[in-house]
C-alpha cells in the first residue's frame, strides 16, 4: 500500500493544516500554502480535511502507484496525466496499481495537492504531519521528497478497485467541486490594517491601495517579496521585534513589501502594514512570480464574513463527499 517517487519535482513535501501551539518556541505552523485546496483534496478522497497531503510545485514529480488508490488532485493546474491519459482536477479518482502519475504543463496556479484515501503513514512531529524544512523534522524525514522515496498509505483502499473498468487505468467518480468562487478575481487580495499601517505617510497609504504590486522571483513558502512603488514611513526608527503570522505584510527598509507565507519566521522586527485576510490566502498561495496583486483594504467584520462563508461551504462539502462515497461503497 504505497506510492514511489520515480522522479522528484521542484519541491514536493507532505503538509497538513499546520503545527499550532509551538510558535512561542520559534517553531512555525507551516502547513499547506493553499489550505483550501489541500482541505478539498482530502474531502474528495474521503478523508478528514486536515489529513496529510502531498504539496507539489512545478515541475511536478513522477509518482508510481504501487497499489490501487482513491486519490484527488486539486489546486494549481499542472495538467496531470496517469500513464497517457489526462486526469481531471477537483474530482475523486480511483487509480489502478502500477500506473504512473506525471505532470505535463504549468497551466495555472503555483501549488498542487494530491490526497490519498486514508492519508499517508508518516509519523507526526509535535502534533502535525507538516514538513518543516528548516528544522529538518515532520513529514517525510523532515525533507523534500527524493527519487526512490516510498510513501505508505495508512489504509487499504482496495474496496474501491471494483469501480475500475476492465482495461482502464483509472475511473473518475461522478462528482466534482466547484471552486470558482474561492479563486475568482485572483489578483484582488484583501487585507486588514496592521499595527503599523498608520506609520505610513498618507501618500504611501494611497499608493498601497491604488498601485499594482508584482511578485518577485525570490518568493517561496517563507514569503512573497513584492515589487512596487516604494512606501515611506513617517519616521524611520527601528521597532522592537514582535510576533508575526501567515499573511502578515511587512515593510522592508527599502520601502518594498514582503508577505509572510506558511513557512514564515515566528517573530519579526519590520513594520506590520497589514494582514492578508485568511479567506484570500488560498488565492495568494496560487499566485506566481511576475503575477500582480491589487490590494484592497477591508475591515475585520468583512474579513471574518469572507472566512465564515468559505468555511461553511467546506462543511457542506464534507457532508456531500462523505454521503457520495458511502453510497458507492455500500
Amino acid at each position: 500500500m504505497s506510492l514511489t517517487i520515480i522522479k522528484p519535482g521542484l519541491c514536493d513535501t507532505i503538509q497538513d493544516a499546520g503545527r499550532h501551539g509551538q510558535a512561542h518556541l520559534g517553531i512555525n505552523a507551516g502547513g499547506a500554502m493553499d489550505t483550501y485546496a489541500a482541505g478539498v483534496a482530502n474531502l474528495l478522497a474521503g478523508n478528514q480535511r486536515c489529513e496529510a497531503v502531498l504539496e507539489v510545485h512545478f515541475p511536478g514529480p513522477q509518482i508510481l502507484f504501487e497499489q490501487n488508490a482513491l486519490i484527488s488532485i486539486t489546486g494549481g493546474d499542472f495538467t496531470p496525466y496517469l500513464n497517457d491519459e489526462p486526469l481531471p482536477l477537483w474530482r475523486p479518482i480511483v487509480v489502478r496499481r502500477n500506473t504512473i502519475l506525471h505532470f505535463d504543463k504549468l497551466q495555472q496556479g503555483a501549488r498542487c495537492y494530491i490526497a490519498i484515501h486514508g492519508g499517508f503513514n508518516v509519523e507526526p512531529w509535535l502534533g502535525s504531519y507538516s514538513t518543516n524544512l528548516k528544522a529538518g523534522a515532520g513529514g517525510y524525514e523532515g525533507r523534500k521528497l527524493a527519487k526512490g522515496d516510498e510513501l505508505c498509505f495508512r489504509e487499504n483502499t482496495v474496496y474501491f478497485a471494483g469501480l475500475l473498468k476492465e482495461g482502464k487505468d483509472f475511473q473518475v467518480l461522478n462528482w466534482r467541486v466547484d471552486m470558482r468562487r474561492i479563486y475568482e478575481n485572483p489578483h484582488e487580495i484583501c487585507f486588514t490594517c496592521g499595527h503599523e499601517f498608520s506609520e505610513l505617510c498618507p501618500n504611501s497609504q494611497q499608493d498601497l491601495l491604488q498601485n499594482n504590486f508584482i511578485i518577485h522571483p525570490f518568493s517561496d513558502r517563507m514569503g512573497y517579496r513584492l515589487k512596487g512603488v516604494p512606501l515611506k514611513r513617517k519616521h524611520d526608527y527601528e521597532l522592537i521585534s514582535s510576533g508575526v503570522g501567515f499573511g502578515t505584510m511587512q515593510l522592508l527598509p527599502d520601502g518594498q513589501l514582503i508577505v509572510l507565507m506558511a513557512d514564515h519566521q515566528t517573530t519579526g522586527g519590520y513594520p506590520r502594514i497589514g494582514h492578508i485576510v485568511s479567506a484570500h490566502l488560498p488565492k495568494l498561495a496560487q499566485l506566481r512570480p511576475s503575477d500582480t496583486i491589487q490590494f484592497k483594504r477591508v475591515d475585520i467584520q468583512t474579513a471574518e464574513d469572507l472566512l465564515y462563508s468559505q468555511q461553511q461551504e467546506m462543511v457542506i462539502l464534507q457532508r456531500a463527499c462523505h454521503d457520495h462515497l458511502n453510497e458507492l461503497v455500500c
Binding site: 520559534g26 523532515g142 521585534s241 515566528t266
Partner: protein, 208 residues
C-alpha cells in the same frame, strides 16, 4: 514590561479556548493567533471573533499578575570562548577597545532573561548585556554554526541551527538548543533565566 507579557501568556494558556492557535510573547508585546471560524461557531460572540479575543486579552491584562508567576528556571550553560569557536571575539575586542578576557568576564557575570524565542526554532533572545560589550550587528551576515553564542546590540543569543547570521560570534556551547527528536525539542522557555560559564576547548569536546 516583559514580565507582564509572560504573565499574560501564562494566563491565556491557563484559560485556553477552542480556536487558539498560538501565543507568541515577545519583548514588549503578545501576539495571539486564532481561528475566527471556530470561535464564531463555538462561542457565538455578539460581534466579531476579533472583538471577542480583544475582550479576552483585556481580561488577561487585568487578571494576570506578574508577581504570582513561578520563579523562572535557571539554565547554567557552558561556553567555550576559545578561538576556534569564537570567530568574531578578537575583532570585537579590538572594536570595543577592551581585552577578550574582559568580554568573557562581563558576558558570564550576568544572569540573562529569555525575553523571547523566535527567528529559528529555539533561538532565545537574551538580555541585557553589559553596555561595555554591546555591539552592532556585522555589516555582512556570514554562516554561523549551531551552538554559536553571539552579541547584537544589547542582546546575546545562541544559534540553534547552522544558519546565516549577523551577530558577533564570541563562543560556542556544546549543547543542542534544538533537537527535533528530543522529547522537548526546545528546552528553554520564554521567561527563563540563563547564566553562562566558560569552559576550555577540551571540556567542550568531552561535553559534546
Amino acid at each position: 514590561m516583559n514580565r507582564k507579557v509572560m504573565a499574560m501568556a501564562a494566563w491565556l494558556r491557563k484559560h485556553a479556548f477552542d480556536g487558539l492557535n498560538n501565543i507568541i510573547p515577545a519583548y514588549s508585546s503578545l501576539t495571539v493567533s486564532y481561528d475566527p471560524y471556530l470561535i464564531k461557531t463555538r462561542y457565538q460572540p455578539a460581534s466579531t471573533a476579533f472583538d471577542w479575543i480583544k475582550d479576552l486579552l483585556q481580561a488577561a491584562y487585568n487578571q494576570s499578575n506578574e508577581n504570582s508567576t513561578a520563579s523562572p528556571a535557571l539554565h547554567r550553560i557552558p561556553v567555550c570562548y576559545e578561538e576556534e569557536y569564537a570567530p568574531d571575539l578578537d575583532t570585537l575586542a579590538l572594536h570595543l577597545q577592551i581585552t577578550t578576557s574582559e568580554i568573557i568576564a562581563l558576558h558570564t557575570a550576568v544572569v540573562y532573561r529569555v525575553y523571547m524565542i523566535g527567528f529559528l526554532p529555539g533561538f532565545a533572545y537574551l538580555g541585557t548585556v553589559d553596555d561595555k560589550i554591546a555591539a552592532p550587528r556585522k555589516a555582512q551576515p556570514s554562516s554561523v554554526m549551531a551552538g554559536s553564542v553571539g552579541i547584537a546590540g544589547k542582546q546575546t543569543g545562541i544559534y540553534p541551527l547552522n544558519s546565516p547570521g549577523g551577530w558577533n560570534i564570541i563562543g560556542r556551547i556544546p549543547l543542542k538548543m534544538f533537537d527535533p527528536h528530543a522529547e522537548q525539542p526546545v528546552w528553554m522557555q520564554p521567561g527563563d533565566a540563563v547564566q553562562f560559564f566558560p569552559i576550555t576547548a577540551r571540556e567542550f569536546k568531552t561535553r559534546q
